[in-house]
């Protein structure tokens, strides 16, 4: 029966206002709420729904991150993943490193499907899914907003700039989840209790034969340029007047 691998990244919660450290070495993370990357939550939800429809048997949540990322994996288990793998690594993870790691795990587990978020809301890179598909030499269907099984192929609707594109991919395949694929479920208290008993294996990059190094390094962080504070107008007439004066309409 089919296995599904889901990538789960630990990121600063999307509600947190991001602040760059004054010394330009990163963003403030002390005392900041961490969560599962929202797109990965959607990826996991899709896998859960497939299992509930009998289209998959086992769901494995994988995270590359620090020890504390066990929290996010426990959340994934509480949502319904069957087991979890933490690939321990402190510090930033280049998407190519993430893809190599998922590739190493895919070779061990032989999943029918790997689902990851279309991007992580920290580095906004949007690379891990397609990179994994390249290394694995398998199809990719990115920005998915609908996924349906048709025998051993998947019919995927993708949100592209032009509108909605439909592609057909053979299994095994890599899917990246977009926002409108589904709405993830809330975790209930009894599920959190149950999740504590589910298996969570801890390994590291070296054990999987993956080198954490990357030729690309962030050397400086800075806040973005701020926009000038604008003016308020009192009514429609004043607005239209101002736009006309500025030559904007």
């Amino acid at each position: 029966m089919r296995k599904i691998l889901v990538g789960v990244k630990r990121v600063i919660d999307y509600n947190v206002r991001i602040r760059v450290k004054p010394d330009g070495t990163g963003v403030v993370t002390d005392g900041v709420k961490m969560s599962i990357n929202p797109f990965d939550e959607i990826a996991l939800e899709e896998a859960l729904r497939m299992r509930e429809r009998g289209e998959a048997a086992e769901i494995i949540a994988v995270c590359i991150g620090p020890d504390d990322a066990q929290q996010q994996l426990r959340t994934a288990l509480a949502m319904g993943a069957d087991r979890a793998i933490l690939v321990k690594h402190d510090g930033p993870v280049d998407p190519l490193v993430a893809a190599r790691t998922l590739h190493a795990i895919a070779q061990k587990e032989s999943p029918a499907l790997v689902i990851v978020g279309k991007q992580a809301i920290d580095d906004d890179a949007a690379q891990t899914g397609p990179m994994l598909a390249a290394l694995w030499d398998r199809p990719q269907a990115t920005f998915a907003s609908k996924v349906e099984f048709k025998g051993e192929t998947l019919v995927v609707t993708r949100e592209v700039d032009a509108g909605l594109e439909t592609d057909e991919v053979d299994l095994p395949a890599v899917i990246t989840a977009d926002l409108r694929l589904n709405e993830p479920r809330y975790v209930k208290l009894p599920d959190i209790m149950k999740a504590k008993k589910k298996p969570l294996d801890v390994t590291d990059l070296a054990s999987l034969g993956v080198d954490a190094g990357s030729p690309a390094q962030v050397v400086r962080w800075e806040p973005p340029a701020q926009r000038q504070k604008g003016v308020m107008v009192k009514d429609a007439a004043e607005l239209v007047d101002m736009l006309k004066k500025k030559g904007l309409i």
């Binding site: 598909a133 269907a141 019919v155 509108g163 053979d170 604008g230 009514d235």
Partner: protein, 312 residues
């Protein structure tokens, strides 16, 4: 010479405007020689359009029936072949480029820099992270091929006036059949394209229904503007997905952006930070959109829009 290969995006025989912006970014690499690669079933027209861009030294045209649709799994191995000998491979940060370029980078065995907004040197680039709330400077070790997607909103289009040679290339590489294009449902409209329109009018959750969203289209028509929407408006079905503006939608840089009934969540604002003038109309004077708007108007959109329409 730094040889930069730009992967052209095109559809229906037309070069996507994002490619001209990529060319500008590519040309800003010190000592750049810019080559544009066109992968198509029948691409002479597109190649000619690319050759007419100023700053392009050469256009490579790879024609193959399998290239009729831009499937990343089919294009990537061909791009890798054509990229041999180039130090840089660039594509646009549109859904085309975001789908294809990481697959190319992984086959090349190099990391990718997404959404490059500035080239600081031959090995140093700036790119936004955290929905544009931080800007990073990335240094790439010498000797590695540099693969990038270009944040098109950060660049002007390369002007016309180029006269590059077009060279046809046969690329001999096995192509997969595991990925098949079925269809694309692109809504046909004669409205200006959201990503390149000088003026954009956007509506949010406040519109309340697809019927009410018509007043956004009406105002846009009056202004000859493209139409955008917030995620909330798209999720609720008031507007189609291709209109979403923001971190996970389109990043745009029009001369004029009018946000109507949009609160101004960071994920939305990141899509419009480069707009020249932002106008916000919202009934809540505390709405965060007013923190970044150049011109703000507090009031009910359903009374204000008809008035504005009348006045212009």
């Amino acid at each position: 010479m730094n040889k930069v290969l730009v992967i052209a995006e095109h559809a229906g025989g037309s070069l996507n405007p994002a490619t001209a912006k990529c060319v500008t970014c590519a040309a800003s690499v010190p000592d750049a020689e810019v080559t544009v690669a066109v992968f198509a079933a029948d691409g002479a027209g597109v190649a000619a359009q690319a050759a007419a861009l100023k700053g392009v030294a050469k256009v490579l045209l790879v024609e193959n029936a399998a290239n009729a649709q831009p499937l990343a799994a089919v294009l990537a191995p061909q791009v890798v072949k054509v990229a041999a000998g180039h130090g840089y491979v660039f594509g646009p940060s549109t859904t085309f480029g975001r789908d294809l370029m990481p697959r190319v980078a992984a086959l090349l065995g190099v990391p990718q820099l997404s959404d490059v907004m500035a080239v600081e040197s031959a090995t140093r680039f700036k790119r936004p992270v955290y929905a544009g709330n931080a800007i990073t400077t990335v240094e790439v070790a010498p000797g590695s091929v540099i693969a990038c997607t270009v944040r098109v909103a950060s660049y002007e289009s390369a002007p016309a006036g180029g006269n590059a040679t077009v060279e046809k290339l046969a690329v001999d590489v096995p192509l997969p059949s595991h990925t098949r294009f079925v269809t694309v449902s692109a809504a046909k409209s004669d409205r200006p394209d959201l990503q390149t329109a000088p003026r954009v009018v956007s509506g949010g959750r406040a519109l309340g229904s697809a019927e009410n969203f018509e007043i956004i289209y009406r105002l846009a028509a009056k202004l000859n503007a493209g139409v955008g929407a917030s995620r909330a408006a798209v999720d609720a079905g008031y507007a189609p997905n291709e209109m979403q503006v923001g971190q996970t939608g389109k990043i745009i840089a029009p001369e004029l952006y009018v946000a109507i009934g949009i609160s101004g969540a960071i994920q939305h604002v990141t899509g419009i930070k480069d707009a020249r003038t932002i106008v916000a109309i919202n009934k809540d004077p505390e709405a965060p959109i007013f923190e970044i708007a150049d011109i703000g108007l507090v009031g009910d959109l359903f009374t204000l829009l008809p008035e504005i329409e009348r006045l212009i």
